[in-house]
Amino acid sequence: MALLTVENVTKRFGGLVAVNRVSFEIRQGEFIGIVGPNGSGKTTLFNVISGVYFPEEGKVTFDDIDITRLPPYKRAPLGIGRTFQIPRPFASATVRENIAVGAMFGSLSGKVSVDESLDIADKTIERVNLQEHREKPAGTLTPVEKKLMEIARALAMKPKLLLMDEAMAGMHPNDIDQMVSFIKRIAQEEKIAIVSMVEHIMRAVVGMAERVIVLHQGSKIVDAPTKEALEDPKVVEVYLGHPPEEK
């Protein structure tokens, strides 16, 4: 059974069609990569799933609940977590407090006390290896640490679906490999479905995703197992342009 179903979703900004009749399904625990060049509609699609925008057409279903027009703060308790392309920490709060917010208002919302949330935060901090930064204001972390913190914050929400927006952008290849194996392990342990959005760091996609959805100018052009998708001539064309004419 599908965890998330996106059916014929269209999102326009004035005359611009940012997402054009896109449909796909994600099963529980599945690892999906969404790739596409700049401006292909990836972030808009993420915003439609997390509730930042409502689509003009189409339907989004999560766990058998129609969430098409559900406000974003009601989606998190259902089990949708996300990270941002440019990390958005609650800068003045400590790393521990940031992550505790995830525990408090995520899928455990209403079930955990402040103290229990802080305990969850402590455990999550250990998993991402940020112990030494525990009491630092999140705004003072390095960009990579901020990304880790955001992932920890999203994991503390105990999501069923985790949307990761360019989680590896700007990272050193070694860090990417480390991150990839970390995320993979967590996803398997906690049975979280992950949708990772990537512009061009194929190293990350190939390393993790079981399936890849390719967007181009707002439309889905390919939806296939990773290797197959990345070798698809349409994908090559989107990224590299037409192959030169053979003489």
């Binding site: 998190a76 407090e97 917010v101 949330s117």
Partner: protein
């Protein structure tokens, strides 16, 4: 259990400061006036901090809640004075009415204005304050621009001596209690999910929403709480201390500006900040007007600018960072 109590340690310096103020006022002759003024500023800061400090939204119409609180007390005294057997209960009813009216006004304003952000919110709230004042004056509600004067009724209810003691002493004690209560509620919020939600939305409202926080709900909680305390401060400090109310005085934007300065001087969003801000602001205002009568504002403005530049996070914000790794950190937030 001990851990739970330790969470409330930061209330100690706040209460200690209020106790010292009280003792100075009682024991040093001729200081009660000054102490009363300082208590008023601390209470104002403490109340406003719950909204301005914790959400980061600047409400330029804040004084309106003090205004309606003042009217709540005034209406209770003027309308109920002739009912036999109520006696001092009129004052209690006045506080309840102040609470009710500031709650209703803040709910009405909050439901609309809190959808706006930044400068738009600030402008909308100025509009509410001015609009409310002109509504009272123009529609001649509650005696319109002639205001309400109720010294006679206060004397009638309590007797001349008690009424005079109320105006010169007990009203200030009530302000002190309101300030202490506001501080306690601030700390309670900080330690609960409300505080975490407010911090998150202050730092990044859109990220907070995606994290599952119903930002509108939490903004309204902070707004209404803060407005309630403003209403109580108005009822105690303005209605009971000076038993009259005129619209231009109680909707004077000047008090909102003072409240903003106090919160920022002390450290927005800190618990001890409003006390420090209230004391610095009140003491410098008081002594500058004695030393340099007529020129006080000329000196006052640069002093405030200097403090804000030197301590952008406020005096307590700076102190909090300084003591971070020491034993004091448990007490200063």
């Amino acid at each position: 259990m001990k851990k739970q109590i330790a969470k409330y340690y930061p209330i100690i310096p706040v209460f200690a400061a209020y106790l010292v103020l009280f003792l100075i006022g009682r024991n040093v002759t001729g200081t009660w006036q000054l102490v009363a003024m300082l208590l008023f500023y601390c209470a104002l800061g403490q109340a406003f901090n719950i909204f301005l400090g914790m959400t980061g939204y600047v409400d330029f119409g804040y004084v309106a809640f003090m205004g309606v609180g003042t009217y709540g007390m005034a209406l209770s005294i003027t309308r109920l004075a002739n009912i036999e057997g109520l006696g001092a209960a009129v004052i209690a009813i006045g506080f309840l009415l102040a609470l009710l009216m500031s709650t209703l006004l803040s709910l009405a304003v909050g439901a609309v204005a809190l959808r706006l952000r930044g400068a738009y919110f600030a402008i909308a709230t100025i509009g509410v304050n001015e609009g409310f004042r002109f509504l009272i004056e123009g529609a001649r509600i509650w005696n319109g621009s002639e205001g309400l004067i109720f010294t006679a009724q206060l004397n009638q209810i309590l007797g001349r001596e008690t009424a005079s003691a109320l105006m010169t002493f007990w009203a200030d004690i009530m302000v002190l209690i309101i300030a202490a209560l506001a501080a306690f509620v601030t700390l309670f919020y900080m330690r609960s999910k409300i505080g975490y939600a407010l911090t998150a939305l202050r730092e990044d409202e859109d990220a907070a929403k995606v994290m599952g926080i119903n930002v509108t709900k939490f903004k309204i909680i902070a707004f209404v709480t803060s407005a309630c305390f403003a209403g109580l401060v108005g009822a105690a400090s303005w209605a009971l201390k000076t038993p009259y109310v005129f619209p231009p005085e109680v909707f004077e934007i000047h008090y909102t500006i003072e409240a903003i300065i106090i919160v920022l001087l002390g450290g927005a969003g800190t618990l001890l900040g409003p006390v420090a801000g209230g004391l610095i602001y009140g003491i410098s205002k008081y002594y500058l007007s004695i030393i340099l009568p007529g020129f006080q504002l000329l000196i006052f403005a640069p002093i405030i600018i200097l403090i804000i530049v030197l301590f952008p996070e406020g005096v307590i914000g700076m102190l909090k960072n300084r003591v971070k790794n020491s034993a004091l950190a448990r007490f200063i937030i």
